[in-house]
Amino acid sequence: MIKCHFLRFRIGAALDAGRPLSGRLESHLDHCPECAAWCHTQRALAGRLRQTVPMAEAPPFLQERILRTIGNSRPQPEVSSWMWWAGAVAAAAVVAVLAIPMSQGGRQNGLADTGPEKNLLSSDVLLASTSPHFSSGNSWLQSAVAIDQPLRREFTLLKEDGLNTLRALKAGFVPSIVLPEKD
């Protein structure tokens, strides 16, 4: 009986795939009238299911509605997984770097007292994180400086350029933002 149970499963799998039964299955059916009857029923059912597929008529306006919604847009550009992760890590790092000095009240860098400059710096760094030039999670500091240059202002994030922020934060390093004097 257990054998019949497993063989019926295999018979069903063959019917689902639309392939003929193997010799072993056929020989079992020759000796087992119950499985032969079961197979006959299942084969007939599979045939009836395949023969007539019900198909609802889609409304005639649906196609036009779809195409109107799509309009003149284009497929969205592909974002590769490594770019996505690099962007996510970089954005998280930038947010962490900005959040910690703010929570420290700017005591270590004296920037909190300058008011508008601090806000400008925050927005610029966030701008850098979404820039297409901002592609590498490990070189985000250099990228941030590079993006900021067209704005004709320079600043340095962390004194050690290229330091991996996550590693620094894990080591207990408190990042600071220093605004150098202009030339």
Binding site: G12, D16, A58
Partner: protein, 207 residues
């Protein structure tokens, strides 16, 4: 916004198996053009798969109004994500995966408001079919709709849409073994229900 026109030479997909077998390379060429941003090529893709997608979704959600919205959303999502499509996989499988997920999201957000009406479904007619044949076919798929949702989806994708078990597994975000089990249970239950003396089956609601 410019209205798009459909190329006249694109056939509609009345026969899923025929489209799957004969239209594979044609569909691939259309999809490739659509990936490059050609809306006319995508319009042809919509023309080919709209009917199948609509009916598959209708079987899942149970009313034609929701099925229209979900079909539209499916094709919009497909268009937007077209550059993520990998040509080594079947486009049809990918499309149905999106359609099923969109329908499931819809069902999670809103319970079905209306039972599937008999007039929503019409049986595809073959010239040689008698009225009795059509009634039989209508009855068999009406019975299938009373299966648990996963079993119905597997049965519909395998027997109705002609997908292989592996493709059904991909669409259902599952594995081949589970799909085989679903199909086995669905057939076994159907055979019991379709016996002349069998009791009226109870409908399994989608949760």
């Amino acid at each position: 916004m410019t209205a798009l026109t459909l190329p006249m030479e694109i056939p509609s997909a009345a026969d899923p198996a025929a489209v799957a077998a004969a239209g594979g390379s044609e569909v691939a060429a259309l999809v490739e053009r659509a990936r490059l941003g050609d809306p006319a090529a995508f319009a042809a893709v919509v023309a080919q798969f709209e009917k199948r997608t609509f009916h598959f979704v209708l079987g899942m959600v149970g009313n034609s109004h929701d099925a229209e919205d979900i079909t539209q959303e499916t094709f919009v999502k497909t268009w937007q994500a077209l550059r993520r499509y990998r040509p080594q996989h079947s486009f049809c499988t990918w499309l149905f995966t999106i359609a099923r997920r969109t329908a499931l999201n819809h069902l999670r957000a809103r319970r079905p408001t209306e039972e599937l009406k008999d007039h929503d479904i019409s049986v595809e007619e073959n010239p040689g079919d008698t009225t009795a044949d059509r009634d039989d076919a209508s009855a068999i798929w009406a019975t299938a709709r009373r299966l648990p949702p996963d079993q119905y989806d597997a049965l519909r994708l395998c027997y109705g849409e002609g997908f292989a078990v592996k493709e059904v597994a991909r669409i259902m975000n599952s594995n081949s073994i589970r799909v085989r089990v679903l199909l086995h249970r669905a057939r076994r239950r159907m055979a019991e229900w379709l016996k002349p003396e069998s009791p009226e089956p109870r409908t399994a609601p989608r949760s």
